[in-house]
Symmetry: C2
Subunit: 336 residues, 2 copies
C-alpha cells in the first residue's frame, strides 16, 4: 500500500476547492472558462504528478497541508499542456470526454482561440498556487525554478515529437530522448524535485537517478498500453496512437524484428485514420509474434530496475525506501 | 530626458546575450525555435515593459545589473503572448515582419503547432530569467506572484477581447475593462510592481493609481494611432485594427456622435478585410468631423492627468517625480 497515494482524495478535494474559489464573483467568459477548466481538470483522475511531488517532499519532511495545496499546481500545469497538445494534434477526445477545444460551440478558430488562452490562464494559476503557500522563500524559488525547467524540457520534447513525422528515419535514441524530455522530467522527476526543494531536501540532484529511468519505463509501458490496453482505461480509442503515427519503441522494434512483408503491412496503416478492427488485430499480432512486444517489455523492465536500484542513494529510512519501491511499481503496473 | 530610457540599449544587449547563451550547444528543432524566438523578440524595439520594471525598481533602489537582467523576462513574456495572439487572430504580420507562425514553411497546422509550443517555451524562459537573479528571496517570490497575476489578468482581458465580436452590443465600460486587463496591468502596472517588489519598495499597492490610468491612456492613444498613425511605426497596415473589427473608444464614440448615415457607412466596412484607401479615408473623416476623435483624445488626456496627479503618493524625491512624469509623457506621445 502506497503512503502518498492515500493523499489522492485530498488532492482532488483541494483542486475542487481551488476552482470553486476562482469561480466566486466571476461572470461572463471568465466564469465560463474557469468552469470549463474545472470540469476538464477534475475529469482526469490519477494525480500522478501531485503524488510524486508529495513523495519528493516526504524525503525530507512530514507530509502537511501546505504540500497538498501546492501539489495541485501540477494538475493546472497538466491542463495547460494538454489543452495546447490537443489543439496541436487536433485530437477530439481526452480523458474519456471531449478535448478542451471541443467543449465550445463557436466556429473552429474561435473555439481554439478561447482554448489557447484558457490554457495560458491555467498556467498562470499553476504558478500562483505554488507561490501562495507559506514555504521558506528560498525553497519556494528553487521549486519555482524546477517547475519552469520542467515545462521547458517538456516543450522541447513536444517540439521533437510533433516534428518527428517530418523526418525520414527515426531512431530508438530519438524516441528515448523524447521520453526523457516529455515524460520522465515532466511526470516523475520534475514533480519529485519540486517537492524535495520545498522540504529543503539536500540531495535533489540524485533524484534524477530514480525519476528519469522510472519515467522512461512508464512511457514505454504507456506506449504498450496504447496498443494493447483497454479503451475505457485509456480514455480514447485504442487505435489512436497508431493512427496518429506515434513513433514508439514498440513500433521501431517491430521494424527491426518483423519480416519485410509484415513491416509493409504495418506501414500501410501507420499514421492514417480509419484502420479496421481486424487489420489492427493483425498489426498487434505482428508486433507480438516478431518478438518486438517482449523486447520492449524487457526494456521497460530494465529501466524500472535501474530506478529501483537507485533508491538507497535517496534515503536509508526503510519506510521511505518501501514507498519509493511501491510508487515505482504502481507506475509500471499503471497507476490505478 | 528619461533616466530609465537610457537603459534601453543595455536591455537589448542583455536580450541578445540571453538568446546567444540559449543557442549554445543546441541543435535540430530546439535550435531553430530558439533562433526564431531570438529574431522575433529582438525585432520588437520599444522595451516599454522592461523600462517600467526598472522604473518600479528605482523607486526604492539604485538601478543595478540585476534589474536589467531581470527586466528582459518581460520581453520573453511579451513574445509568449504575442505569438499566441497572432495565431488566435490569424494575423500574418507583427513588428514589421511576419508573425511567428508565418516564419515556418510547413503546412499551416504544423506551423501553428510549433509556434504554440515555442511561445510556451518563451514563457518558461521568462520565469527562469527572473528567478536566476540574486534578489532577496522574499522579494523574488512577490515579483513572481505579480508576474503570474499580470499574465492572468492579460489572459482574462484577451478572452473578453476575442469573444467581443460574439456580443450584440459593446459598451464603453467593457472596452475600458479590456484596456485595464489587457494593457494597463500588462504594460505599465504589472512591470512597475514587479520592479518595486524586487527593490523592497513598501507601497506597491499605490502604484495602481499611476499605472492603471496611464495604461488606459496609452491604450486609447494606441487605438488612435491604429487609425491615424503611419504604417512604418505601426509595423502593420493602418487598416488592420479596423478590418479586424477592433472595438475601441474611438469607434464607440463615433457610433454615439456621428449621423445615422455615417454610422451605417462605418459599419459597412468594420470587421471586414479589404477596405479601399478612399473608403478608409472617409471613415477617418467621419470619426474626426463627428467629434469622436477629439472626445477620445480628451478621455486619454484625463486618464493621463490622473496618473500624473498620483505621482506624489509614490515618491517625494524630485528626480524620481520628474522621471515618473517623463515616462508618462513618453507613453502618450508614444515611446520612440
Amino acid at each position: 500500500m502506497s503512503v502518498v497515494a492515500q493523499y489522492k482524495s485530498q488532492v482532488d478535494e483541494e483542486l475542487g476547492r481551488f476552482f470553486t474559489g476562482r469561480e466566486l464573483g466571476k461572470d461572463g467568459i471568465e466564469l465560463r472558462v474557469i468552469s470549463a477548466l474545472k470540469e476538464f481538470t477534475m475529469r482526469g483522475g490519477k494525480r500522478v504528478r501531485p503524488l510524486f511531488m508529495i513523495l519528493g517532499y516526504w524525503l525530507n519532511s512530514d507530509i502537511d497541508e501546505r504540500i497538498i495545496r501546492a501539489s495541485i499546481s501540477l494538475e493546472l500545469m497538466q491542463s495547460y499542456l494538454l489543452i495546447h497538445d490537443d489543439i496541436i494534434d487536433q485530437s477530439p477526445t481526452r480523458r474519456g470526454g471531449p478535448s478542451f477545444h471541443k467543449m465550445w460551440n463557436y466556429e473552429e478558430r474561435m473555439n481554439e482561440g478561447i482554448s489557447i488562452v484558457a490554457a495560458d490562464l491555467a498556467d498562470a494559476y499553476s504558478h500562483e498556487i505554488l507561490l501562495s503557500n507559506d514555504f521558506p522563500p528560498e525553497n519556494l524559488n528553487r521549486a519555482m525554478m524546477a517547475m519552469s525547467e520542467t515545462v521547458e524540457m517538456t516543450g522541447i520534447g513536444q517540439l521533437m515529437d510533433i516534428t518527428m513525422p517530418l523526418k525520414d528515419k527515426v531512431t530508438l535514441g530519438e524516441v528515448t530522448k523524447v521520453h526523457v524530455m516529455k515524460t520522465a522530467h515532466y511526470t516523475v522527476n520534475g514533480p519529485m524535485k519540486m517537492g524535495a526543494y520545498l522540504s529543503g531536501y539536500p540531495n535533489v540532484g540524485l533524484i534524477d537517478h530514480y525519476g528519469i529511468p522510472l519515467g522512461i519505463a512508464f512511457q514505454i509501458q504507456d506506449d504498450i498500453l496504447g496498443m494493447y490496453g483497454d479503451e475505457k482505461t485509456l480514455g480514447k480509442p485504442v487505435t489512436s496512437d497508431f493512427e496518429e503515427g506515434k513513433m514508439t519503441h514498440l513500433i521501431l522494434n517491430a521494424f527491426d524484428l518483423a519480416s519485410e512483408n509484415d513491416i509493409k503491412f504495418i506501414k500501410k496503416f501507420l499514421g492514417k485514420p480509419g484502420i479496421s478492427q481486424s487489420d489492427f488485430e493483425e498489426v498487434r499480432n505482428i508486433i507480438k509474434s516478431s518478438g518486438a512486444l517482449a523486447k520492449t517489455k524487457e526494456l521497460a523492465l530494465s529501466y524500472y530496475n535501474k530506478a529501483i536500484s537507485s533508491i538507497p542513494e535517496l534515503t536509508d529510512d526503510s519506510m521511505k525506501v518501501k514507498e519509493l519501491e511501491e510508487m515505482a511499481k504502481r507506475m509500471v503496473d499503471r497507476i490505478n
